[in-house]
């Protein structure tokens, strides 16, 4: 008796809906993507209940690592034509007797993350072609009273962009004196309003608790 032969067909799964979903997710991710930038130091920001987002423009952010090193980042202004970053570098160069070439200024403008390079090594830093060549120069901005380059950066940033606001981004474990030093430098330049960068956390509070 002949066996009944069932057609041996490999089961086909219709992948079209899956592909559709994937395409939608992919499009969404591509459109909303703001690339996470590699910071020179790993910083775990503390939590707070504040819901105010970081402003996009007119900010200078001081990154204070857990070991007390200070890095600085500023934006290029609301309009890229303003070119705040290269102008701040130029201003900085003037004060330390350094002349930066157009290429170097462009490199500085393009540098995406916080920078903590002593100004005298800035040229070597900017000549570096990749992160591996640049990282050894990221020693933190000198803040001691003999050679207070941090104060100078603040001064130059304020000169170029008078509307600039100061943000502090510190690790939860950063010793407070390191933060205090940055705050003092800013206060000397008459900046008394700061934004502390934090991550969001929910706070639980209710009326009954208060009335007890």
């Amino acid at each position: 008796m002949p066996k009944i032969k069932l057609p041996t067909k490999s089961p086909r799964i219709d992948m079209t809906p899956m592909v559709d979903t994937f395409a939608v997710i992919l499009t969404f991710l591509m459109l909303t993507a703001t690339m996470r930038q590699d910071e020179p130091a790993n910083v775990d920001t503390p939590f707070s209940i504040s819901e105010k987002p970081v402003p996009d423009f007119n900010t200078m952010t001081f990154l204070i690592a857990a070991d007390g090193k200070v890095f600085m980042n500023m934006d290029n202004g609301p309009d890229t034509l303003l070119k705040f970053r290269p102008r701040i570098l130029e201003e900085m160069g003037k004060r330390y007797g350094l002349e930066f070439t157009e290429t170097e200024k462009r490199e500085f403008e393009k540098f995406p993350s916080s920078m903590g390079v002593p100004i005298m090594q800035m040229k070597e830093f900017l000549a570096g072609r990749n992160a591996a060549e640049r990282d050894p120069f990221q020693l933190g901005i000198p803040t001691d009273s003999l050679d207070n380059q941090l104060a100078m950066w603040i001064l130059c940033a304020r000169q170029v962009n008078p509307n600039i606001q100061a943000g502090i981004k510190g690790d939860a474990g950063t010793p407070f004196p390191a933060v205090k030093k940055v705050l003092d430098n800013l206060q000397e330049k008459k900046i008394n309003r700061f934004m502390l960068v934090t991550s969001l956390e929910a706070a639980e509070i209710n009326l009954e608790e208060i009335q007890q």
Binding site: F22, S48, K52, G170, T174, M195, E204
Partner: protein, 222 residues
Amino acid sequence: MAEIIQEEKGKGGKKKAKKHPPHIDMTPMVDLMCLLITFFMLTTAFSKAKVMDIVLPEKIENPDQQNSPAVAKSRNVNIILGPDNRIFWYPGAVEPADYNNNIFPPLVELDYSATGIRKLLLEKNTTLARKIAEFNDKVIRGEIVLSQDSVAGSIKKLKNDDDTGPFVQIKAYKEATYGNFVDILDEMNICGIGRYMFVDIAWYEEKMVEIATGKTTVASAN
């Protein structure tokens, strides 16, 4: 079902070219998309960081010419951020006559939890905290319709008008961390403290912390 019917037709002699819709193998495409999605998921910074505003008191250039504001001492709350995530407080103020004679009021230790510092602050700030909470409740229930900005403004006004809450002075001992600093400011926001400021720690307060943590005793401080 469809297969069987087709075969019956085939027996009938008429051979029809099977019309399959052309199948495109999508597996490589799906693979690629999976990869891309994974890549984007990992590199995207989804939640934007938040900021907390803080205004520090202006540096006074010549302190002698300034009159310190008259503050009722009973409303004073001094919070000291200590080493190893410890936190202390004492009420009122230390008189010069006391600290010059090595008399230091003892510090009370608290912790950063809801039963520690928050309880103390809410106790001191009951009236204002209740006002703010009731206001927020009304906004949520829709009894007051305001835009987000005016809600923040109204709360600020409540805080300004308040004259019952404590004056909180925050001081950081040299071994405190930045995390402690943010935590305590956050606590001020949670408890709706109207008046708080961050001031430098005084030498006698450092000594008080050292006594409280057992680093020095009152006797050896002499």
